[in-house]
Amino acid sequence: MSMLNIFNVSGSAVSAQSQRLNTVATNLANADTVAGPDGQSFKARQVLFQTLAMGDSGAAGVRVANVLEDQTPGRRVHDPKHPAADGDGYVTYSNVNAVEEMVNMISASRSYQNNVEVMNTAKTLLLKTLQIKQNN
């Protein structure tokens, strides 16, 4: 029943994509954050996918190997009245690029849908295999 393995493969992809969606949500929520708990400005996060070999030949799932922080400097805005302004009157916001995050979100949601459809097809085929010579 090598078809049953499809659920493992697509399941790993769905969970990886949902973690990616989670990261996008974190980044978008913190797009205007001035400072995090450590006093530093928020750094955008990106997931890194990696192929995960699943047992016998051919089957390859996905896993999130690492969550990386974007190290580019944050957006600096001149606003001397802001309580978090530095000596020169600049406030450092997070380095989240909202447009990139939206594109990332659409891509993640499409991949998620693709994998759900793969699982649905596999389920239909397996059910029909179980019904060989039963209903006709």
Binding site: A13, R20, Q50, A59
Partner: protein
């Protein structure tokens, strides 16, 4: 004599196993559509089926050194070498999954899997009719 009943079924069952195998390969490709560096893979179904049904000898086939030796079919459990799909559009992260092609192959393979299931259903029906003599 019983071979005559089971031989058509044998062929279709090998085809079904290979279809399931290809379905799993395509699912792996779709799952890894966003993985950097992943190379999409596919199988040559025709030659895999020829190998499974014994029409084409495997490189490491059993040798016949005695007239009494039985010929052994390879079976679908020994898959043909997997091929790498040629990338149609290159990607910055060296991923070669072409989602349009994978989705098309996936739908195509699902339909053919169902077709094989129907052939098996038909063969079983014919066999049952022969047994019952109706």
């Amino acid at each position: 004599m019983i071979n005559r009943l089971t031989d058509p079924l044998e062929f279709q069952s090998q085809a079904l196993v290979l279809r399931a195998e290809r379905q799993r390969l395509l699912a792996s490709n779709i799952a890894n559509a966003d993985t950097p560096g992943y190379v999409a893979r596919d199988m040559d179904f025709a030659s895999a089926l020829r190998q499974a049904t014994g029409e084409q000898a495997l490189p490491a086939a059993l040798a016949h050194t005695h007239a009494g030796h039985l010929s052994v079919r390879n079976g679908a459990a020994s898959p043909a070498g997997l091929a790498y799909a040629a990338p149609s559009q290159t990607n910055l992260d060296r991923n070669t999954v072409d989602m349009d092609r994978e989705r098309a192959s996936f739908a195509d393979n699902a339909v053919k899997y169902e077709a094989t299931l129907r052939f098996i259903n038909g063969s079983v029906g014919t066999m049952l009719n022969a047994i019952k003599g109706q």
